[in-house]
């Protein structure tokens, strides 16, 4: 099982390989990618910072999903540090016997990561302004 918070480029293919299982008929993967716009403004770069417990929380999440009935394996990583447009911030993959379970588990895993993983995002816009996303 992969469950990492890392300051290095992420490979979705590595996550797909990590969930390979002879019983699996479906592997669904997801890449959360840095886009060049948000709320109608142009974005130049993003910085993600994590709480010291982020890796533990991600491990907990991966174990929770891996224990689901029908799920064979889970791999998930979040990148921290300074990222450019097109870089992968979140990579995950899930393997199951049938595709429906894999699509559902992967989508829910991404939702739970966004909800529970203590990681924050600073967005820098082309006009030089910056903001911490979701912070009032």
């Amino acid at each position: 099982m992969i469950a990492r918070v890392v300051d290095a480029p992420l490979s979705v293919a590595e996550h797909e390989d990590a969930v390979a299982d002879k019983r699996a008929g479906a592997v669904v993967s997801f890449a959360g990618v840095v886009r060049d716009h948000d709320g109608g403004r142009s974005v130049t770069e993003l910085e993600y910072v994590g709480h010291p417990t982020a890796a533990d929380v991600l491990t907990e999440l991966a174990e929770e999903f891996a224990a689901r009935p029908g799920v064979h394996a889970v791999a998930v990583s979040h990148r921290v540090g300074l990222l450019g447009i097109g870089d992968v911030a979140l990579a995950c993959a899930v393997s199951t016997a049938h595709r429906g379970e894999a699509f559902a588990a992967c989508a829910e895993l991404v939702d739970e990561v966004k909800k529970r993983l203590p990681i924050w995002k600073r967005q820098v816009f082309t006009d030089g302004e910056e903001e911490w996303v979701a912070c009032p």
Partner: protein, 80 residues
Amino acid sequence: MSVTVRYFAGARAVAGVDTETRDAGSLDELVGQIVDEHGERLERVLTACSFLVDGTQTRDRAVALSPGAVVDVLPPFAGG
């Protein structure tokens, strides 16, 4: 009673410090002190924050703080 406050992300940006030491017996008392010190911008950010008191996440400001407690100020998560 001395407690350590650690600010993260947007809370750290408006507080202007990573860490500070305060004397407070409850989370409510602590929040009052840090708002007095760092002002309205921190107060606004705190409306969206949860707290990690010695490793346990809470939004309940009535929580008592023991001497030496570590309180992390956590803005809304924004991973993915």
